[in-house]
């Protein structure tokens, strides 16, 4: 199986994702230049964090028009797994692969720190190694992670179990004080209806090694690997 990490101009967690997939998880992985238009042979596409195009117009707004994004949309329509982390999540929103939009954090400051998130849906290909309600210790680092969605669409998200992660306390309690950025419904990550596209603000690649203080992110990568291997075995 093979991962592809997309590199947009201004991506800056591309190398981190690459490193974790290759050295920690031990799977094969390529960088994919944003001008490329071929995703043949890949099983999972990672849209990494960073500041694509400096986030100068809106986060993810310009990257969404990179040639590769046409392919990513195609790829996801065919059931390929796509995970967008932080800026990658923002790109997915702008591209319409996920619903909603990002606003500036409630406190109007960039925040980089460890938070806790609760797994709301452990049936996705990205979270199957967790159990529902499991609490992860995982870092966030963003200025625009204040997720917005209108009330009707939110009910739809909930109904379809598309809310994958919510900010919470160490013990899994969801409350305003544990929501770092003001996100609607304390949302930290969502997937599409089909479940093969995940967007999340926290950074699993930053907590996949014990030397970095937490390995909770590792299970996300391992879930992906397991899902793909199962599918490949079937084919």
């Amino acid at each position: 199986m093979k991962f592809g990490v997309v590199v947009f101009p201004g991506s800056n967690c591309d190398y981190d994702c690459y490193y974790v997939i290759k050295r920690v998880i031990g799977e094969s992985v390529d960088f994919i230049w944003h001008k490329s238009s071929n995703l043949k042979g890949y099983d999972c596409i990672v849209l990494p964090g960073g500041f694509s195009y400096g986030d100068y117009l809106r986060t993810g707004a310009i990257a969404r028009f990179s040639p590769i994004m046409k392919e990513v949309i195609e790829f996801s329509k065919n059931g390929g797994l796509v995970i967008g982390i932080c800026n990658g999540f923002q790109v997915l929103l702008e591209a319409g692969l996920l619903p909603g939009a990002m606003r500036k954090n409630r406190d109007l400051l960039f925040i980089c720190r460890y938070v806790y998130v609760r797994v709301e849906n452990s049936d996705t290909p990205f979270t199957r190694l967790f159990h529902k309600g499991q609490v992860l210790h995982i870092p966030v680092a963003h200025f625009e992670g204040n997720y917005y969605i209108d009330p009707q669409s939110l009910s739809r998200l909930k109904m379809n179990s598309q809310v994958v992660f919510r900010y919470c306390s160490k013990d899994g309690e969801v409350a305003d004080e544990f929501n770092p950025n003001g996100s609607v419904y304390a949302i930290a990550g969502i997937c599409n209806e089909r479940g093969n596209v995940l967007g999340m603000m926290p950074h699993p690649e930053r907590c996949s090694e014990s030397i970095l203080g937490s390995e909770d992110g590792k299970l996300i990568w391992q879930s992906i690997v397991k899902s793909i291997n199962e599918r490949l075995a079937k084919e």
């Binding site: 500036k104 204040n146 917005y148």
Partner: protein, 83 residues
């Protein structure tokens, strides 16, 4: 040449943390009577050689496609002819 001024603001109903912060700052500086502040973007786009009619379509197109995020933002614009 045309100068297009595009005003982008958050849609009604979308909470605006920047606007709220600015309002609070104005209050605490003692400016009375400030009811509400909305924070948005102001783009000035200079365009060459377009005839004004097509221009409107072009701008609407740009706005819908990339300059504005319709999930949370709305926009207005004005066109000025400049040298």
């Amino acid at each position: 040449m045309f100068k297009v001024k595009i005003y982008i603001s958050l849609k009604e109903g979308v909470a605006d943390p920047q606007g709220i912060t600015i309002k609070n700052a104005l209050d605490s500086l003692g400016y009375s009577g400030v009811e509400r502040v909305r924070y948005g973007k102001y783009l000035q786009v200079y365009l060459k050689n377009s005839d004004k009619k097509k221009l409107q379509k072009k701008i609407d197109d740009m706005c819908k496609k990339i300059l504005v995020n319709p999930v949370i933002e709305s926009y207005e614009y004005e066109i000025e002819e400049v040298k």
